[in-house]
């Protein structure tokens, strides 16, 4: 099989894996005799017509797999099977890297025969890149479920980021998807090992995981609860959510695809947990009766609507944490507002807020500027009248 055919097969098998960041805090010791350099901020080298960025050479080492995951591209029987040799993949990658097509390598794999054997080949590939090619750029290495500790440790020596996919939010959900993977032993135990390596400063870009959203009837609450637990207990850097889309030839081929907007809402809620420091109890305000986030609205807006007593907030007096709870105010604009206050500059107009970076369209109903606020329906009608109208409407319904 030619290298082009292999690249096509193993590249398309890896396209559902998510890896957004290429940032690394690793410091280089050498001044010359190397190729590539880690970056502190991410960079996207291209975009496919679906709008997703192509930043790493994202390939599988092999697409032969002993697991039976019902959603997986590789479990479809009719697929052509292929494997890379470490040297072959190393050369292919360096060719693309030198010409500035990619920022690094993302190496994942199916499990051929057993995890140890396949993992050995993957670790050998990254070892060759670092030791033979003197490559100093970014490497993201996927850890296969049930991989032995010594290979994970060796991989951590060479890779910037490690990741192991949870796929589902808990044991029972994973059992629905795969009969060969053990959630606790194969995944969580390995994650705990990676956490230990991270504590020893061996994985500069930390570790991540990925969930397949909508493949096992799981709710958003289950997914976000698990993510929160992983952030707290496993020191996970980031959870990725990948909307399920059916693949022909797999047991779930008849299942409906998960709408991409659900993936988007999950990322928004996850962002609130990680960056905005919302508590999980606050996120719960955005869930509907089925424990899912309503697809029509931004979860932050839903949370604000569910907690009306908190608002409106006076911009010149609210704390940083309170400002972050206003829809349309992000960490940057909240920081700027606090900085202005420290410099004794008061915000007097809504225009000033726009300049600072606040999205007024969303923020207006929830804030006051110099004690002035957006005109509400209450300004024209009394609360009693509104309640009376609501009672009539309720009776008629």
């Amino acid at each position: 099989m030619s290298i082009l055919q292999k690249l096509e097969i193993l590249g398309s098998s890896a396209k559902f894996d998510t890896c957004a960041s290429t940032a690394s805090n690793r410091t280089m010791q050498r001044s010359g005799g190397y190729i590539g350099a880690p970056l502190r901020s991410g960079i996207c080298h291209s975009y496919t017509p679906d709008g997703r960025c192509v930043t790493l050479l994202k390939v599988l080492y092999t697409n032969k797999c002993v697991h039976d995951c019902k959603y997986c591209f590789n479990s479809a029987g009719h697929r052509e099977r292929a494997s890379f040799e470490p040297q072959e993949l190393t050369r292919l990658f360096m060719n693309l890297y030198v010409r500035n097509y990619v920022e690094g390598l993302f190496l994942s794999s199916g499990v051929c025969r057993n995890a140890e054997r396949t993992m050995e080949g993957m670790v050998e590939t990254v070892r060759q890149l670092r030791m033979k090619e003197n490559y100093e750029g970014y490497i993201h290495l996927k850890i296969l479920p049930s991989s032995p500790y010594h290979l994970i440790k060796e991989g951590a020596n060479y890779a910037d980021r490690l990741s192991i996919n949870c796929e589902a939010p808990n044991k029972s959900r994973l059992q629905d998807l795969s009969g060969t993977k053990d959630f606790k032993n194969d995944i969580l135990t390995r994650m705990a090992w990676i956490k230990g390596l991270k504590k020893r400063k061996m994985v500069p870009s930390g570790h991540t995981t990925q969930f397949v959203v909508g493949s096992s009837d799981e709710s958003d609450k289950e997914l976000l609860k698990m993510s929160q637990w992983l952030y707290d207990k496993m020191l996970l850097n980031r959870a990725y959510y990948s909307a399920f889309s059916p693949v022909k030839g797999t047991p779930l081929e008849e299942r409906e695809a998960t709408p991409v907007i659900r993936e988007h809402r999950l990322y928004q809620a996850d962002w609130l947990l990680r960056i905005y420091d919302f508590k999980f109890s606050e996120i719960q305000l955005a869930f509907n009766d089925n424990d899912n986030i309503a697809l029509a609205k931004d979860p932050k807006l839903l949370i604000a609507k569910a907690d009306p007593d908190r608002f409106p907030l006076e911009v010149n007096e609210a704390s940083y944490e309170d400002l972050l709870h206003i829809p349309g105010v992000g960490p940057t604009s909240a920081r700027r507002i606090i900085n202005l206050r420290k410099n004794k500059i008061r915000i007097e107009t809504f225009n000033q807020l726009t300049n600072v970076g606040v999205v007024l369209k969303r923020a207006r109903p929830y804030l006051m500027v110099a004690r002035k606020r957006q005109t509400q329906l209450d300004n024209f009608i009394s609360r009693k009248d509104i309640e009376a109208v609501q009672r009539v409407v309720h009776k008629r319904c």
């Binding site: 559902f16 679906d50 500059i345 970076g357």
Partner: protein
């Protein structure tokens, strides 16, 4: 990483943006930068926290320069030649060629990097290739545009390389195969892709994004158009 070579500046500070904004094409002509400097001296918080119109305009310029620098670093594609020579053509709108050069020098320290800006007539190299007809200006070689055509410059570069001047088509083919393998058709979103790689940027990258542009066009024209026949079929 600070993108400004030689300057010990923290990213996202007003000083950092000042360096960037002064590289903006418009900053050579108007007095925005002196005005900002004046306000920075009197009331720095106004600028730091972007609270006035002037500050907003200033940050916008900084962001535009930063955006071009960041995107071109990503979208430029090199042709690799013998003797560790990497050549690429770029057409930046702002004065960022030396910044790009520092970025690639860190990435490929043992290579001779040649960034070629046809528009301004600048060639940026690390090792001193001998270009007797060019003048040396700031960090890069300069050739008077009126005197030398694109072809002549290309010939000059070729004459500097001892071995055959061959373009490696195989890697381009590898990239095209890989690029196509990453596309998920069910998630097609041309508008989002075009927003990420605007047409203007495709031109600036000097051919580096030509395959992507071609694929976007193909996908855009593949839109299912309903015909009278479809209507009657229903």
């Amino acid at each position: 990483m600070s993108c400004i070579s030689g300057a010990n500046l923290t990213k996202n500070t007003a000083g950092y943006y000042l360096k960037l904004a002064s590289r903006h094409r418009k900053s050579q002509r108007d007095d925005l930068i002196p005005k900002v400097k004046k306000v920075l001296k009197a009331e720095p918080a106004i600028i730091y926290n972007k609270v006035s119109k002037l500050a907003k305009q200033f940050y916008k310029r900084g962001r535009e320069v930063m955006g071009e620098y960041h995107r071109l670093n990503a979208f430029v594609r090199f042709e690799a030649y013998p003797e560790y020579l990497l050549v690429s053509e770029v057409r930046p709108e702002h004065d960022i060629l030396d910044l790009m050069f520092s970025y690639f020098r860190r990435r490929y320290p043992d290579f001779v990097i040649l960034l070629w800006d046809q528009h301004s007539g600048n060639l940026s190299t690390r090792r001193n290739l001998d270009f007797p007809v060019f003048g040396y200006k700031r960090n890069y070689w300069h050739y008077p545009r009126t005197k030398y055509s694109l072809l002549m410059v290309r010939d000059l570069i070729r004459s500097q390389i001892s071995e055959l001047f061959n373009v490696d088509n195989f890697t381009t083919e590898l990239w095209e195969h890989y690029y196509d393998s990453q596309y998920i058709k069910s998630r097609k979103n041309i508008k989002l892709a075009q927003k990420a790689i605007p047409k203007k940027m495709i031109a600036k990258a000097g051919g580096g994004m030509s395959y992507e542009a071609k694929r976007f066009d193909e996908e855009e024209h593949n839109k299912q158009k309903s015909t009278l026949f479809d209507f009657l079929e229903k």
